[in-house]
């Protein structure tokens, strides 16, 4: 495969997937049921991506657990995105070095 053509195909398909709903759903969908459904979608998608993905993200499950627990604690304390990320990364790094 020609690399540049492959990149073009990738970029086009990615963009198409993203833009199609923006073109199709121009009006506000008036059904309260659908509005509610779409309101929950981001939270569910994120959750589905976190678990079990987070446990496979680092080299070992143990360091991932350490980072995960840290993120849960900091997240529950409603710390900022940066605080949660950096805090968990530091803990994970320490765990990686120790284990």
């Amino acid at each position: 495969m020609n690399t540049y053509l492959a990149i073009l195909i990738m970029a086009s398909s990615t963009y198409l997937i993203r833009v199609l709903p923006m073109i199709l759903f121009k009006e506000k969908i008036n059904s309260p049921f659908i509005q509610r459904f779409l309101h929950y979608v981001p939270y569910c998608m994120l959750t589905a991506m976190i678990i079990p993905g987070i446990f496979n993200s680092t080299g070992s499950t143990n360091s991932a657990i350490a980072g995960f627990v840290t993120a849960i604690i900091l997240g529950y304390m409603e710390k900022s995105l940066i605080t949660v990320s950096i805090g968990a990364v530091i803990v994970t790094y320490i765990a990686e070095c120790l284990l």
Binding site: T14, P32, I50, G59, S85
Partner: protein, 247 residues
């Protein structure tokens, strides 16, 4: 008499004002996370035989880690263009749902052209922040959120492609958890305060466990599993909480 737009509604004090600056600030952690993740992608791309420029081009034009990784693997594996198209589309199919979801949350000032533009930046994290941080998504806020992620994703890829083994292994591993932590930071506070969100989140977790353990379901690929669990949980939540006020 013309009515001026109020970008922020009065009841929902937990939302930020939707302007470019606030978007920029909200996008900083995403940008940092992307720096890390795209760095490893850059290294992967080089290992796969791409040039640094090709890696940069791929990242700047796609802005998606999962799809790019799949694409690189297919490039190396001597696949064909059709398989590439189909695979990347399926892996990215969750963006369809995200765009649909966000299309309902757009500020009236969002013209058709602006929709076309922001669609380019509809990444997982950018979508998530736009969904959660403001009440109505304006063009300036979205572009603000997308700014650092785009720079981070591109720059990180290029850096990873140009530099060999700058980070030692523990550092790489620790850095790769950053994105997930961002997700956690986005999901936890609303779950804490709103029982309907808490419900759908827990339900999603239960579904993921089911999909991981039950015989037929555990054969389903990751991309589809995410979509199915997300959709089912959202659906059930919508049935159950018909009376609950939307935040």
């Amino acid at each position: 008499m013309t009515q001026t737009h109020t970008i922020e509604t009065i009841e929902s004090t937990e939302y930020t004002t939707a302007n470019y600056k606030n978007g920029l600030i909200a996008g900083i952690p995403i940008g940092l996370g992307y720096l890390f993740v795209s760095f490893t992608f850059g290294m992967t791309a080089i290992l796969a035989g791409l040039t640094p420029y090709e890696a940069l081009l791929m990242s700047a034009s796609n802005c998606t880690s999962a799809g790019q990784l799949a694409g690189v693997n297919l490039l190396v594996g001597q696949s064909n263009y059709l398989e590439l198209l189909v695979t990347v589309s399926i892996i990215n199919s969750r963006y369809f749902l995200m765009s649909t979801s966000l299309s309902q949350k757009l500020h009236p000032s969002m013209t058709f052209l602006k929709r076309l533009i922001i669609s380019f930046g509809m990444t997982d994290e950018v979508f998530a922040v736009n969904s959660v941080e403001v009440k109505d998504v304006t063009f300036s806020f979205f572009m603000g959120v997308f700014t650092f992620p785009f720079i981070g994703w591109s720059l990180g890829t290029l850096s990873g492609a140009l530099v060999d083994n700058l980070m030692n292994e523990p550092m790489q591993h620790a850095a790769s958890i950053a994105m997930y932590c961002m997700f956690i930071a986005l999901v936890l506070p609303p779950s804490k305060h709103h029982k309907d969100i808490r419900f759908v989140v827990v339900l999603t977790l239960i579904f993921r466990v089911l999909f991981a353990t039950l015989p037929f379901l555990n054969q389903i690929s990751e991309g589809y599993t995410i979509i199915l669990c997300g959709i089912f949980a959202s659906l059930i939540g919508s049935f159950r909480y018909q009376e609950e006020k939307l935040t």
